[in-house]
């Protein structure tokens, strides 16, 4: 049957060969096989049922309903637990302080065991923080701006939990103290630092819009949970401050209020011990445990995110799409219809692309309908069962819906191309399952380094589009798949998936053009 390949190519493209007509032809072929449409709709229904089923389980979080993950100004879950010695400041002003020491200890027990100072070992925690903080309210999750010395990340200026700017490096010791200054001018807060108290360097600044006239300013110390392997150990830092001046004049700190922000009983964030402060001559010594940062509570407060109920439904949906895509192509070979198709549309690559696009678009639309309901519903079900679900912005949720649907749609295109390469249904479906589902399943079963590489290099990279959590470099944490973090950014994952579709389509086109139908 080499007639079709031997046939001379038309010099002028026939009208039926325009992409629109090709797409239409393929759409008619897909739509008129009732079994495929029924399978796709049943697949979508199963996908929805399984997403809801998984979300509908009882509570699994390690936090109960009594404990609270505070919500920051951006709507994200935050950690806001620290020792704060403060006074009120009305209008513009400046506060300056010298930090002469910053030390910390780490619990030798795990976070879920009550930490105690008796079982701890010294050692500087990289993100232990001591410095100046300005906030309109001491309520957890309120706006703030702070300039601080850290264990090993130098001087930082941070505000509103997610923002972090670096300044000069170096560690605070008695021999090398650091001065820090926080200045308010209207809504603008600027952080400075100095190594000698005379020459000042700006570390960062921000506008906290709608800042009240009277704010709380003062010294704070805190020290985050240290993650080693999978174990989380609470830590406690101690900072020593002196030469405290407000608006240029030395301040009498005896009237300042010391406060342990974030009640250890209700806060989800594990602490080693309650915060405390005392005067030591002219110096003020604060001890604090906790963090002021975006919450990475997976492992501390459960692992539920906006996308966590999707994975099983997605596997079911993908399996159905793989079966339909395999049949969509191989049944034409089986019935010999492929010869008619290629006689009508001699541009074989174009026809294959149209096949993939038509099926992919239908799979995308069905998945989008399912996930657009399943994502909000899943979060609602999880919350109503007493689970903590990481808050996700509307944009993130929309991206998850798009990402899950694109994953199904592009997988349909990849399997269409694979099926055109192997031409037999058994080989097509095996290849589809091996390329699309196997890496996904092996990655979730294996975890660790294998999972990271599978999610970077295989089509399973597309799962990164379901990322509901952000990787913050100012929080040292195990950013692993088990904790809900994919190794690629959503955009990079999408690019890898599209790359596979392109490679598969190109390979299939080359083979289709070379082989007899």
């Amino acid at each position: 049957m080499s007639l079709t390949t031997a046939a001379p190519r038309a010099t002028r493209r026939p009208a039926s060969n325009r992409l629109r007509s090709v797409l239409w032809a393929e759409w008619v072929k897909l739509r008129t096989v009732r079994g495929w449409i029924i399978a796709l709709i049943l697949g979508a229904a199963a996908m929805f049922a399984f997403c809801s089923l998984v979300a509908n389980g009882p509570s699994t979080g390690t936090i109960g309903l009594r404990t609270v993950v505070p919500t920051g100004p951006g709507g994200a879950g935050v950690a806001d637990t620290y020792e704060f010695v403060h006074r009120s400041l009305t209008g513009d002003g400046t506060i300056t302080v010298r930090i002469t020491a910053l030390t910390s200890v780490t619990s030798t027990a795990q976070a879920n065991v009550q930490g105690s100072l008796a079982s701890s070992h010294p050692g500087l925690v990289a993100w232990a923080k001591a410095g100046l903080l300005l906030t309109p309210s001491t309520r957890q999750g309120s706006d703030y701006a702070a300039v601080m010395a850290t264990g090993s990340h130098g001087i930082r200026f941070q505000y509103d939990y997610t923002h972090d700017a670096g300044g000069p490096g170096g560690t605070v010791t008695k021999a090398t103290p650091r001065w820090v200054r926080l200045a308010r001018s209207g809504d603008t807060i600027t952080g400075y630092t100095s190594a000698d108290g005379h020459r000042w360097t700006k570390v960062g600044s921000t506008r906290l819009s709608g800042l009240s006239a009277t704010v709380q300013v003062g010294m704070f110390v805190t020290s985050p949970v240290a993650f080693r392997n999978s174990a989380a150990s609470p830590t406690l830092a101690t900072g020593t401050f002196d030469q405290i001046t407000v608006n240029g004049s030395p301040a009498d700190t005896s009237s300042w209020r010391g406060q342990d922000i974030g009640d250890a009983k209700t806060s989800f964030y594990p602490t080693l011990a309650a915060g405390s402060y005392h005067h030591s001559g002219s110096a003020l010594v604060l001890s604090g445990s906790g963090d002021i940062a975006p919450a990475v509570v997976a492992g501390l407060a459960g692992t539920h995110t906006a996308s966590s109920s999707l994975s099983f439904g997605l596997i079911v949906g993908l399996l159905v799409v793989i079966v339909v895509a395999s049949m969509f192509v191989t049944s034409e070979y089986r019935r010999g219809l492929i010869r008619t198709t290629f006689s009508a549309i001699p541009a074989r690559g174009r026809d294959l692309a149209a096949k993939g696009l038509v099926l992919g678009a239908l799979a995308f639309v069905l998945s989008a309908v399912v996930t657009a309901v399943a994502v909000p519903l899943g979060q609602h079900l999880l919350r109503s069962h007493g689970n903590y679900v990481f808050p996700a912005s509307t944009f993130t949720q929309a991206r998850i819906v798009f990402g899950a649907s694109a994953l199904v749609g592009i997988s349909a295109i990849i399997v269409t191309a694979l099926a055109a390469i192997v031409r037999r249904p058994a080989a097509a479906i095996t290849a589809g399952v091996g390329v699309i589902l196997l890496p996904f399943i092996v990655a979730s079963a294996a975890g660790g380094g294998i999972a990271d590489w599978l999610l970077r290099l295989t089509p399973a990279a597309g799962l990164s589009m379901l990322q509901a959590l952000t990787h913050y470099q100012q929080v040292s944490y195990a950013y692993t798949l088990t904790n809900g973090y994919y190794p690629l950014s959503p955009l990079a994952g999408f690019a890898v998936l599209c790359g596979y579709a392109l490679v598969a389509l190109t390979a299939a086109t080359v083979l289709l053009d070379r082989r007899d139908a």
Binding site: T60, V316, V320, S326, M327, A428, I429
Partner: protein, 257 residues
């Protein structure tokens, strides 16, 4: 009946895909087991099961056997050969029985070679991972009754998977749908069980799903932690296979080819 089995054996034997799939089943099973055994490292606090560990390749091998079993009937429908077959052998139940017997017959040597390869790989590789007598793990040996049960059970497991796949393919008559259905039936319940937090439901799924129940036969240690007893689990899989073959046989009798 002998003639029917002979005809089916000839059809199966002369397909080039059969030889490749059989080689793939054996090689895939042993390769996965060897890789897992080589990559294993002992964890403090958790107890490992060397026999079960060295039979991990069954997860892959069963998929190849399932594809082979599906193809024996679905490809006949795909090519139209089924009409010739049924003209020559009008007793349809006999035909299905002959196909089942041929598949079971071909699965026995495949299962034996694959299981032997896996156990040898485990015996050679696992002691390096700390699963050795010094850590309280005797070497894998068939004179250990539990290991013998696991080995023989795995061969039976593979036969039952082939029969289950044949039954499903007889019901659906479509290669792609059958393979999708078999893969879904085998691999989806264990994933669902991982995600379902309610322990009672999880246990029920593991007791009823063909793969999780059937593979209980591979356990040689901590039998009390299993969702279902080894032979009972294999019985669940046998019930699945019987039900699929029965439904397939009935439909084969009732429908036009």
């Amino acid at each position: 009946m002998t003639a029917t089995v002979r005809a089916e054996w000839t059809k199966l034997r002369t397909l080039p895909s059969t030889a490749w799939l059989l080689i793939a089943a054996v090689a895939g099973t042993i390769a996965v087991s060897a890789i897992v055994a080589a990559a294993w490292h002992i964890n403090r606090g958790s107890t490992a099961d060397p026999t079960k560990l060295s039979l991990t390749g069954t997860y892959l091998g069963q998929a190849v056997i399932a594809v082979l079993a599906v193809l024996t009937i679905s490809e006949e429908y795909g090519t139209g050969m089924i009409r010739t077959t049924l003209t020559a052998m009008p007793r349809r139940i006999n035909l299905l029985a002959a196909k089942a017997a041929t598949l079971a017959g071909i699965s026995v040597p495949v299962g034996l070679v694959a299981v032997a390869g896996c156990l040898i790989a485990g015996r050679l590789l696992l002691p390096h991972a700390g699963l050795n007598p010094a850590h309280g793990y005797p070497l894998i040996a068939l004179d250990h009754p539990a290991t013998l049960r696991a080995a023989a059970g795995t061969v039976i497991y593979l036969i039952l998977i082939a029969l289950l796949s044949l039954g499903i393919a007889t019901i659906t008559r479509e290669t792609a749908v059958s393979i999708g259905a078999v893969f879904g039936l085998l691999y989806l319940p264990p994933i669902a069980a991982q995600l379902i937090h309610d322990p009672t439901w999880r246990r029920h799924i593991q007791q009823l799903a063909p793969m999780t129940a059937g593979l209980a036969i591979q356990a040689t240690r901590n039998l009390h932690t299993l969702p279902i007893a080894p032979w009972a689990g294999l019985g669940v899989l046998a019930a699945w296979a019987a039900a699929a073959l029965l439904a397939g046989g009935l439909l084969l009798r009732l429908r036009d080819a």
